[in-house]
């Protein structure tokens, strides 16, 4: 079975003032289609950097990274934009919704950049909001939504262009434990029912074990260990 994501010896160096900081120091791993992988580790271990690189928001300094068969290192900025638009969906700790736009408009946003018709966009955005359980929140602005609802909108938006993989960066970091559990259940549901591949960065080792098929441990820019999660493929 070919890997959906395949990283070989990824390095990432930052210039921070005059000092050079190595965020990734030779990371290699693979994720198969349909997997739910949790990436755990302390702050500053390079988890988010790795996620951003897979998401095409950042580029590796060296190494190879193939997502869905394409080599990201060989992509120019235009191709990276296309990668973000159609291959991956991302959600963040702070939701990153556009405050001035309604839930429906936020979900439709990626489809605007993908060039879909307005009617198609509205219909699909409404379906996605229904899918994440926000049937009654279509026309609400982010400020009128609870944290859990906002993250659901963000999940719906990440699914807008039918991505091959969902990248989740601490998706429950801003939520209370009850709401967090709901969001994690939603992610598990999407993984199970829609066979959506998920790579989730989290601090919460307990939930990670419960939901995922596999856990990757990171420390100081390298993957230090791998263990099986509570679920089986």
């Amino acid at each position: 079975m070919s890997a959906l994501v395949e990283a070989v010896d990824l390095h990432k160096k930052y210039q921070k003032g005059s000092a050079e900081v190595a965020a990734l120091r030779g990371v290699s791993f693979a994720i198969a289609a349909g997997e739910f992988v949790a990436l755990v580790g302390r702050s500053g271990s390079g988890k988010s950097t790795l996620l951003n690189i897979i998401g095409g928001l950042d580029t590796p300094s060296s190494g190879t990274l193939r997502v869905g068969g394409s080599d990201l290192a060989a992509m120019d900025r235009e191709l990276l934009a296309r990668h973000r638009r159609s291959t991956v969906g991302m959600i963040f700790q702070s939701f990153n919704l556009i405050p001035s736009r309604t839930a429906l408009e936020n979900v439709a946003l990626p489809m605007i950049f993908a060039g879909l018709e307005r009617s198609v966009r509205s219909r699909r955005a409404a379906e996605l909001l229904d899918l994440v359980g926000l049937e009654r929140r279509h026309t609400h602005k982010p400020a009128e939504l609870s944290g859990g609802e906002a993250q659901r909108v963000a999940i719906a938006r990440a699914l807008a262009n039918d991505p091959a993989i969902l990248l989740a960066d601490e998706p429950t970091g801003n939520l209370d434990s009850h709401t967090a559990a709901d969001i994690l259940d939603l992610l598990e549901h999407l993984n199970r029912e829609r066979t959506l591949t998920i790579l989730m960065v989290t601090h919460d080792q307990h939930s990670a074990i419960r939901l995922s098929h596999r856990l990757l441990h990171m420390l100081d820019g390298t993957i230090t260990g791998e263990e099986s999660g509570g679920r089986r493929l």
């Binding site: 951003n52 998401g55 928001l57 950042d58 900025r77 235009e78 934009a81 296309r82 973000r84 638009r85 159609s86 991302m90 963040f92 990153n96 919704l97 556009i98 001035s100 946003l109 990626p110 605007i112 950049f113 993908a114 060039g115 307005r118 938006r157 990440a158 807008a160 262009n161």
Partner: protein, 470 residues
């Protein structure tokens, strides 16, 4: 990304910062308004003058003068040199010269210019003005082919006169039913008359002549009176010229026209100026100050001018003057346009400022858009579009503002000229379709140029940093 979505997206963004968008657009409106008002004023003035020239057929008109004395040599005390230079090349402007020029196939009409200052007395009022003498044949040429009332002269020596429209006001006459507003100054004793009642009426033309008795009895200061006497010629009003074009000479000068021979025979002080005295020393030897030549075709002007110069005449074409005036107007237009452009550059800086501010505010939003798949080109286009919308809206409203300003200025200027007793309403501004389209395009172009840097900057925002941004 579809352009309709782009448009909606940009408009949404503009609407969200309504106050700032309004103020920025106002900058463009004022810039374009200034540009439009100023350039349309320049164009309007130029058009008025060109029309006045065309209406009076001045383009095909030449004045032939004797070769002038070399003033510089004369000033330097070298009178002999000046005179000899003159005698070598000069050809007298006499009836022989008239016949010579009349034989040119390109010439439609030629006659000596007999013009001098007179006083006229009519209906109990007196006015100082200029008398021009024209041959009866001139009745077939513009602008004399059209009379307002009455008719042209019956012969070259008839005791007749034609009044200009402008002189009527100086004689405190208004024509009933001529659509004229009554002057604001009612303290003067104006009379409203039927134009037809003036035709055939008698008028007096008063010229100054040297009073020989006074000269004999001791010259200028014998009794403190200058040695002049008045001579009165009685003429019948044959016609009245139509209301002149707003910018023609007659608007200012008025004046009367008499048949050529009638004018020539009128006794008068022999020279009308120091210039004519210097040129013919006051001789009455059958020479003229100038000849008036009208050509059949405008294209013949350079050739005729060259031949006349070769014959030893000095030639003055009014068309040259128009070229000079046009050059002047081009400079005025450029200066006015430059002022408008400066206003627009200030507006452009406003656009740059607004958009840079807006990018700072929307950094995180731009990061989000990039994260969900917006390409650099799409981000750039969105910001470009916003700048373009400001330019388009500012351009359209700016043209409107410019038009309103020009209407207001025109109204005020006309109030003022009417109070001065001038003729009809004058259109000072001329807004061409080209100016309208050009101004709007210019506004859009300037706004897009102003949007270039902010748009590029927005497109280059690093999404990772932008998403961390608060």
């Amino acid at each position: 990304m579809k352009s309709s979505d782009l448009f909606r997206f940009s408009l949404d963004n503009l609407r969200r910062t309504r106050l700032r968008t309004t103020l920025t657009t106002l900058g463009v409106i004022i810039g374009i308004g200034a540009l439009v008002a100023m350039v349309s004023f320049g164009t309007g003035m130029q058009r008025n003058i060109t029309e006045a020239f065309t209406a009076n057929d001045l383009f095909t008109t030449l004045r032939v003068l004797p070769v002038r004395m070399d003033i510089e040599q004369m000033m330097a005390g070298n009178l002999d040199g000046a005179m000899s230079g003159m005698q070598k090349r000069t050809r007298a402007l006499n009836d022989t010269a008239v016949a010579l020029i009349a034989a040119f196939p390109e010439v439609a009409i030629v006659f000596p210019e007999v013009t001098f200052p007179v006083k006229i007395r009519f209906g109990g009022q007196e006015a100082s003005t200029t008398l021009r003498s024209l041959p009866v044949a001139m009745g077939g040429f513009a602008p004399y082919d059209r009379m307002g009332w009455g008719s042209f002269f019956s012969s070259d020596s008839a005791a007749e006169a034609i009044l200009s429209y402008g002189i009527l006001a100086r004689l405190k006459l208004t024509l009933a039913g001529a659509g004229e507003r009554s002057p604001a100054d009612t303290s003067r004793t104006w009379r409203s008359v039927e134009a037809d009642s003036l035709i055939g009426a008698e008028m007096e033309v008063i010229t100054s002549v040297l009073d020989l008795r006074r000269v004999m009895s001791g010259g200028l200061s014998a009794d403190g009176q200058p040695p002049f006497a008045e001579h009165v010629t009685r003429l019948r009003v044959a016609g009245i010229r139509p209301k002149p074009h707003a910018f023609s000479n007659e608007q200012v000068q008025g004046g009367i026209v008499v048949p050529l021979q009638t004018g020539r025979k009128m006794p008068r002080f022999a020279f009308t100026s120091m210039w004519s005295m210097l040129n013919h020393g006051g001789r009455t030897d059958g020479t003229y100050d100038a000849l008036y030549v009208r050509l059949k075709k405008l294209q013949d002007l350079p050739a005729v001018r060259r031949r006349l110069q070769e014959l030893g005449f000095s030639v003055f074409a009014l068309a040259d003057q128009l070229e000079e005036i046009k050059r002047g107007f081009l400079m005025v237009d450029t200066a006015l346009g430059a002022i408008g452009t400066i206003a627009l550059i200030v507006a452009a800086l406003g656009i740059i400022n607004t958009m840079v501010m807006s990018i700072l505010e929307r950094t995180r939003e731009i990061g989000v858009m990039k994260a969900v798949g917006a390409s650099e080109r799409q981000i750039k286009t969105i910001f470009f579009f916003e700048a373009g919308c400001i330019g388009l809206l500012g351009g359209i409203l700016g043209v409107l503002l410019g038009w309103l300003v020009s209407r207001l200025a025109n109204w005020i200027a006309n109030l003022w000229t009417l109070r001065q007793g001038g003729g009809g309403e004058i259109e000072f501004f001329y807004l061409t379709p080209w100016l309208i389209a050009g101004s709007i395009l210019f506004a859009v172009a300037v706004s897009l140029a102003a949007g270039y840097y902010p748009a590029t900057r927005a497109a280059r925002i690093n999404p990772v940093e932008a998403l961390r941004h608060d």
